[in-house]
């Protein structure tokens, strides 16, 4: 026990002596949490809108006024022809072109039917879909106004049947993205710091040659490993604590669930990550290799965690792969416990898998660590 204490002391000293690392560990993560949580939103705003009005009648102008009044569309430009508008879209100056054909008003009044052409920059397919919905809503609203204006006093039998849908958004009534993103980004920061530091730690001693010195001391294998990794476990818990405080005070993220449950889960989760870090260290010779492998997995874990893009939409084989992604479980649990107040029984499946993961990962890591070369 005493020996472990000394190793831990040594590790902490090393962490705090390296002045260049301190800001990277203690400042950058929180700056990122604060800034990046604001960036991660799929909400589509400030759509750069343009129109070509070949009709120039009171109807076409009324329609454009509707777009003017909407808060989604901000830059409203008028182009004289489709060709000019298209080249503006090529340059990325506008996202949407609405083309009102000639005889728009005349056709509507005479034939009771008229067309509009909408061109959307669809490189970002999801955004294009949302923009299309917004445009359709405005056009439909306008259409309804026209109908009621032109059909005054028609008979009551013609009232169409309505299925009214009432959406209600639970746990996040205002669809605030920050409450969604802050827990997720916090998870990633905790994971990155603990994985990178633990992954580099032992391999660094290997590369500099000090590991050999450690190996000839009477320190036992388990003492060495615990002493090496425990500081990063503390560090991870510390990062979580500061992150939660920022989430609560700065972002007003609701914390419905049990704080103790979150800490209990995090305590086990960090063990998974540390085991992974140790495992990487064992199988690499240089810090460079260790970091590349850690980077490789972190990028995969982040992008396939369901943090930014939904897991259900992935193909089946990819969904199966996410079962091995620890970040996925952590993101799910943080969101469930913090935002929905899920209880221990609710998160039992994820919890169990994480415990299993921790046992396997650490078992493998300890088994593959050898004091001799």
């Amino acid at each position: 026990m005493k020996i472990i204490g000394y190793i831990i002391q040594k590790e902490f000293k090393q962490i705090f002596r390296n002045k260049a690392m301190l800001p990277i560990i203690f400042v950058i993560p929180f700056i990122q949490l604060i800034i990046l949580s604001n960036a991660a939103t799929f909400e589509i705003k400030n759509i750069k809108f343009s129109y070509i009005d070949y009709d120039k009648t009171s109807f076409s102008r009324a329609l454009i006024d509707k777009f003017n009044a909407s808060t989604y569309f901000n830059v409203i430009t008028e182009y004289p022809s489709e060709k000019i508008a298209n080249s503006a879209m090529l340059r990325g100056e506008i996202d949407v072109i609405l083309e009102i054909p000639q005889y728009f008003e005349r056709d509507l009044l005479k034939d009771k039917k008229t067309n509009l052409l909408v061109i959307i920059n669809a490189i970002d397919g999801a955004a294009a879909g949302v923009e299309n919905v917004y445009i359709n809503q405005i056009v439909q609203g306008f259409n309804k106004n026209v109908q009621t204006d032109l059909m005054q006093g028609s008979d009551k039998k013609n009232i169409p049947k309505n299925i009214i849908s009432i959406p209600s958004f639970w746990y996040n009534k205002t669809l605030n993205y920050k409450t969604f993103m802050v827990p997720g980004i916090l998870v990633i920061l905790v994971t990155m710091i603990t994985l990178f530091l633990s992954g580099m730690n032992i391999v660094r001693e290997k590369e500099i040659g000090t590991l050999e010195q450690m190996n000839v001391t009477p320190i036992k294998k388990h003492q060495f490993i615990i002493g090496k990794l425990f500081p990063f476990w503390i560090l991870g818990m510390l990062l979580l604590t500061v992150g939660l405080i920022i989430a609560r005070l700065l972002f007003n993220v609701p914390m419905v669930g049990s704080l103790a449950l979150m800490y209990l889960y995090t305590a086990i989760y960090i063990l998974v990550i540390l085991g992974m870090g140790l495992f990487i260290s064992n199988y690499t010779d240089t810090q460079q290799q260790a970091m590349f492998i850690a980077w490789f997995f972190v990028v995969i874990f982040i992008l396939m965690s369901g943090l930014f893009t939904p897991i259900e939409s992935m193909p089946e084989w990819a969904q199966f792969l996410t079962e091995f992604n620890p970040i996925k479980y952590y993101v799910e649990i943080m969101r469930m416990v913090m935002l929905k107040g899920s209880s221990f029984m609710d998160i039992l499946p994820q919890f169990g898998k994480t415990v299993l993961y921790a046992i396997i990962m650490n078992g493998l890591a300890v088994w593959s660590y050898k004091k001799t070369n």
């Binding site: 990277i24 445009i135 299925i163 996040n172 605030n176 660094r204 810090q287 980077w295 899920s342």
Partner: protein, 368 residues
């Protein structure tokens, strides 16, 4: 010059001897682009939903059939009581519950009005909103069908054209982004590590006292990585064309030239990082912690920059990756030439020069 070539040769030997790193260097990008190209999509498909049907009549059955046959939803369970909603949401089993009110058909025929509640688990606001919109559009369609007998006069029919990406494929959005992230991080990390490694192992001193000029040392160190990154870029482009069917509507040479520019800019960023860090650990943490998340989140890779706050848009503008993504999408999907993307190219060039100048200023010829 001969000395310089000798030095470059030495660097190549270094890299090629370390088989493991080499394998990681070329294997990782391929695995990542394949994985992400196929797996990542921000479309909403197969969302699990629950249904609480209080009337169980013909109309609700029809609507439920329509919903479960759409590709967006799979009806996972039917529940009986309102109180169950909370339970299944807390377990995270379903993302939404549809509640049909009592006497659904009867109300529809007699009062012409009836309601469906769409209750979504909005901890994920994007999915919640999209689910709500999709259910709504299915309901609207059904409503139109039962109203066919009634005339709906005065119709304005918008016809929508999705430019550059007719089928709204997510791949078109994500492949340029993944390519950018891989190139940037690999280049920046490789150079920053290889230079600080010499510092940490003490061999930098030997290089500095050699007749090679300091800038020759740096260029010699970076040169092999330019070469390796270009191979990576070529492999990624080939994969995206042949496997993901990305079009290259524009000029392939322009694409190559812009990619080389971006690679050089990332490498010089790596040099800059190495000048301010003393150990490999610092260099790696700076390039990983400092670059990974900001590049993923602020470069327009996943999240639209237009919708961000003004301050964030400014930050996003100083990230070289942002400009490279615009250039990539421009050349590959829109088929534009230098006439359109000259501004982005100039900005990228300016950033590269800035990184190089800063590195030269910061570069210490003497070690403490």
């Amino acid at each position: 010059m001969k000395r310089f070539i000798g030095f470059i040769k030495k660097e190549f030997y270094h890299i090629f001897r370390d088989k493991r790193t080499l394998f990681i260097l070329f294997g990782m990008p391929i695995v990542q682009i394949l994985l992400f190209g196929f797996a990542i999509t921000n479309e909403i498909n197969n969302v699990d939903i629950a249904i609480l049907d209080k009337s169980k009549d013909v109309t609700t059955q029809e609507i439920i059939n329509k919903i479960s046959s759409s590709k967006y939803f799979s009806v996972k369970q039917f529940i009986e009581k309102e109180s169950e909603i909370e339970t299944i949401f807390k377990k995270g089993k379903v993302k939404a519950t549809l509640v049909f009110e009592k006497d659904f058909s009867e109300k529809l025929t007699k009062e012409n009005n009836t309601t469906v509640q769409i209750i979504t688990d909005a901890t994920d606001p994007n999915t919640a909103n999209t689910i709500s919109n999709y259910v709504n559009s299915i309901l609207q369609k059904h409503q139109q069908e039962i109203n066919v007998t009634k005339i709906t006069p005065y119709q304005i029919v918008p016809e929508t054209r999705m430019a550059y990406n007719q089928e709204l494929k997510s791949v078109f959005m994500f492949v340029p982004g993944v390519m950018t992230i891989i190139l940037m991080l690999v280049s920046a990390m490789m150079t920053s590590i290889s230079i600080t490694k010499e510092k940490e192992l003490g061999t930098m001193e030997i290089l500095l006292v050699s007749p090679l000029k300091p800038f020759q040392v740096i260029i010699g160190k970076v040169f092999p990585y330019i070469f390796l990154s270009i191979i990576n870029a070529v492999v990624i482009v080939l994969l995206s064309i042949f496997i993901f069917k990305m079009p290259v509507a524009g000029n392939l040479f322009l694409l190559g030239a812009e990619s080389i520019l971006f690679i050089i800019s990332s490498l010089s960023l790596g040099i800059l990082i190495s000048t301010i860090s003393e150990t490999q650990q610092t260099a790696m943490m700076l390039s990983l912690m400092g670059l990974l998340l900001p590049v993923i989140l602020l470069s327009g890779f996943i999240f639209p920059i237009n919708s961000m706050h003004n301050i964030l848009q400014v930050i996003s503008n100083v990230i070289p990756a942002t400009w490279y993504i615009i250039i990539l999408k421009g050349i590959m999907l829109k088929g534009v030439g230098l006439a359109v993307i000259w501004k982005e190219t100039l900005i990228l060039l300016g950033m590269t020069i800035l990184f190089i100048v800063l590195s030269i200023k910061k570069y210490k010829i003497r070690l403490e």
